[in-house]
């Protein structure tokens, strides 16, 4: 590696470079291994911004303990960290398919329902899912829908439909909004939208149907600005984007931002009539946690209507808690994109996990989509 050496350079420069390299390679993380089990601390492995600060404060007073959180921004990240040996978490809040993986892995502790009297607040429609029959391990926390967010003024001006996936897949609509659309940078989510649009289930694993969906995506791709998982929130809110495929709570945020900054347009969002992905996040107990009693206390606390409603009021998440509805702000409670009517609810599906062969195949299809 002679080519890499700075011949005769002052040592300080080498040091400087090492320092730069350190700076440019990201961040050190707090390691849950080092946690002292004796402290009165509940360790929660949670999504970013997925509990209201006032709820935390109230819980800490209630339990006379401390709530410590580590964050993830997607399920795969959470699973990867656990697979790499992260431990010490009492509670995790995974989405259905990730929870399914955790259950089959034997990574979760069963719940003691006698400690959860507030469980009766949960709408039965969200209980007893295919991932956890009889809710042996999980209690629903909140949900999001994957839907379409849009700039209401522009859409009205251009006369485009917003109740169908066609707007992100059909060239006849797309040519009016070329370069002003983003879709999620997620293999499963984008394929789900395409499969739904083609009339298949989001959990269809037929290779021919996948190819059909991939062709649909490749045809529409030239019209999209980018694949985006996070930046679409801001870009919608400042008016750079007119249509975005994304999550309901992100659209809620974008609409709020546009309103707060006094933009001349409003951000709307709606669930396509073909159906969409419903992502139900549940509270589960991880095996590595050493405060199961405290964790049950927390779950029961979060099942209380008022505490549960605070999250919905904060981030616009869907709420499976019936007792919470009276505390949810009316403009959110009345929003059909967050609380779908029962008829639409039947066309929402939860993503199931794929096996390793299917994952590898989908990954190749995805790489092809990106490269073409």
């Amino acid at each position: 590696m002679n080519g890499l050496r700075f011949r005769g350079s002052p040592g300080s420069l080498v040091f400087l470079l090492a320092w730069l390299a350190l700076f440019s390679t990201g961040c050190a993380r707090h390691d849950p291994h080092t946690i002292d089990g004796a402290e009165n601390v509940l360790h929660l492995f949670n999504w970013n911004n997925y509990i209201a600060p006032e709820t935390i404060a109230r819980f800490e007073t209630f339990c006379n303990c401390e709530l410590s959180q580590d964050y993830y921004s997607d399920n795969e990240e959470m699973l990867a960290k656990l697979a790499a040996g992260a431990a010490g978490y009492d509670l995790i809040v995974p989405t259905g398919n990730a929870m399914d993986a955790l259950i089959r892995q034997g990574a979760l502790k069963p719940l003691d329902k006698s400690l959860l009297p507030n469980l009766e607040n949960i709408n039965p429609a969200y209980l007893d899912t295919a991932f956890d029959p009889g809710n042996k391990y999980s209690v629903p926390y909140a949900y999001t829908l994957t839907l379409l967010g849009f700039n209401e003024e522009k859409i009205r001006e251009l006369g485009l439909p917003v109740d169908t996936w066609a707007i992100i897949f059909e060239p006849k609509y797309l040519e009016k909004i070329r370069g002003r659309v983003t879709v999620l940078d997620s293999q499963r989510e984008l394929m789900a939208a395409a499969l739904k649009y083609l009339g298949y289930s989001i959990n269809d694993v037929d290779e021919n149907h996948w190819k059909e969906a991939a062709d649909l995506i490749v045809r529409a791709k030239p019209y999209w600005a980018a694949f985006s998982n996070t930046s679409y929130v801001k870009e919608l809110a400042v008016g750079n984007l007119w249509v975005a495929h994304g999550y309901s709570n992100d659209m809620f945020q974008a609409a709020l931002d546009a309103k707060k900054t006094g933009r001349k347009f409003m951000i709307g969002y709606s669930t396509p009539k073909e159906g969409a992905v419903l992502a139900l996040d549940s509270m589960v107990l991880h095996r590595s946690g050493n405060r199961p009693h405290l964790a049950h206390q927390f779950i029961n606390f979060m099942l209380d209507g008022k505490n549960s409603a605070e999250l919905t009021n904060l981030i616009g998440s869907g709420n499976p808690n019936m007792a919470a509805m009276q505390y949810v702000r009316p403009e959110i409670a009345g929003n059909e994109a967050i609380f779908p009517d029962p008829e639409l609810l039947t066309r929402l599906e939860m993503l199931r996990d794929l096996d390793r062969k299917q994952r590898r195949l989908l990954s190749r299809l995805w790489t092809e989509i990106k490269l073409r």
């Binding site: 590696m1 002679n2 080519g3 890499l4 050496r5 700075f6 011949r7 005769g8 350079s9 002052p10 420069l13 400087l16 470079l17 730069l20 700076f23 440019s24 990201g26 997607d74 795969e76 990240e77 699973l79 990867a80 656990l82 697979a83 790499a84 993986a101 955790l102 089959r104 892995q105 370069g179 940078d185 997620s186 293999q187 499963r188 791709k221 030239p222 999209w224 600005a225 980018a226 694949f227 930046s231 870009e235 400042v238 008016g239 750079n240 096996d355 390793r356 994952r359 590898r360 989908l362 990954s363 190749r364 995805w366 790489t367 092809e368 990106k370 490269l371 073409r372």
Partner: protein
């Protein structure tokens, strides 16, 4: 006495060579071995690796398989991504070199008391987080930005349709060059700073014009700096995934993105390892090539 001297020399050699060797063993050889082993295993259902038990994997006695390699070589797709990443990395390196050379020369030929300040200015951007600086480029290149309006106004004069800067290969290149430019400037500067100015005077006395002075004196002498800088830019760009993810459009996928995807979205560690091994091999051959070139250049000069 003589014997003791030899012993001292051995000790000195050990002290000088030992730590770097140990460093390489711990931080390069060991991880590479782990990666090679991983690449022959089956992916676990939940990330990680499948257990090494036959009934689970339906494979040989040790649960080893070359299937990840077969998958890699079964489709031209992955070669295309490597090629594309190499093109981006080479372009970035070239642009960095063209931009960094005059700057490094300027710094090296300034008065001594300004030099440290100027070097400090070159590295100052590193004081803020890398991702924040990339996000700042999203604003600069965004469709409503001053730069976009300015460029499109000029294009409009010539009747050319407006362009979008953000979410394009151009934006990826801008981000890559921006992030890696200091890594080119610094080694170039340390090299250029050492040049003896009397060489240029001598060349001038012998009738060389300014271009000849640069091309036959400064440039050949600076080649080691050029190679160091190029390696420092080329190699990180090859593995970069954040810049294309944030600034890139629908087609800007590089090998780094693909590898990251194998460990997160697809939960396919063996295939991710295969891709990483291929990348390491590619990087090593580039580093080897750079070393050879720089020796060759040094040999030519001597």
């Amino acid at each position: 006495m003589i014997k003791e001297g030899a012993k001292d020399a051995r000790l000195a050699r050990f002290l000088v060579g030992g730590p770097p060797l140990l460093f390489l063993l711990i931080f390069f050889v060991a991880p590479s071995l782990i990666m090679i082993l991983t690449s022959f295993r089956f992916p676990g259902e939940f990330g990680g690796l499948a257990p090494v038990t036959p009934e689970d994997t339906a494979a040989g006695e040790y649960g080893l398989t070359p299937e990840a390699y077969q998958f890699f070589f079964s489709d031209i797709l992955y070669a295309e991504i490597f090629l594309k990443s190499f093109v981006i990395a080479s372009t970035t390196t070239l642009i960095c070199l063209i931009m960094a050379y005059p700057l490094a020369m300027l710094i090296a030929r300034s008065k001594k008391r300004f030099r440290n300040l100027m070097v400090l200015l070159v590295v100052l951007p590193f004081a803020s987080n890398f991702l924040i600086r990339i996000y700042a480029w999203m604003i600069i290149l965004g469709p409503e930005s001053g730069l976009s309006h300015f460029i499109n106004a000029i294009l409009g004069v010539f009747g050319i349709a407006p362009v979008t800067l953000l979410f394009s290969p151009f934006a990826v290149l801008v981000g890559m060059v921006y992030v890696h430019l200091p890594f080119m400037v610094l080694p170039l500067y340390t090299n250029l700073e050492k040049h003896d100015p009397s060489l240029l005077d001598a060349a001038q006395d012998l009738g060389a014009n300014s271009w000849q002075r640069f091309w036959s004196v400064t440039w050949p002498l600076s080649l080691p700096g050029v190679f160091s800088g190029s390696a420092l830019v080329f190699i990180p760009v090859l593995g970069m995934f954040a810049v294309p993810e944030i600034l890139g459009g629908t087609g800007d996928i590089l090998i780094g993105n693909l590898i990251k995807d194998q460990f997160l979205g697809t939960r396919d560690w063996p295939f991710g390892s295969v891709l990483s091994i291929m990348l390491t091999l590619a990087v090593l051959s580039v580093a080897g090539l750079a070393t050879w070139f720089s020796r060759f250049a040094a040999g030519q000069r001597a």
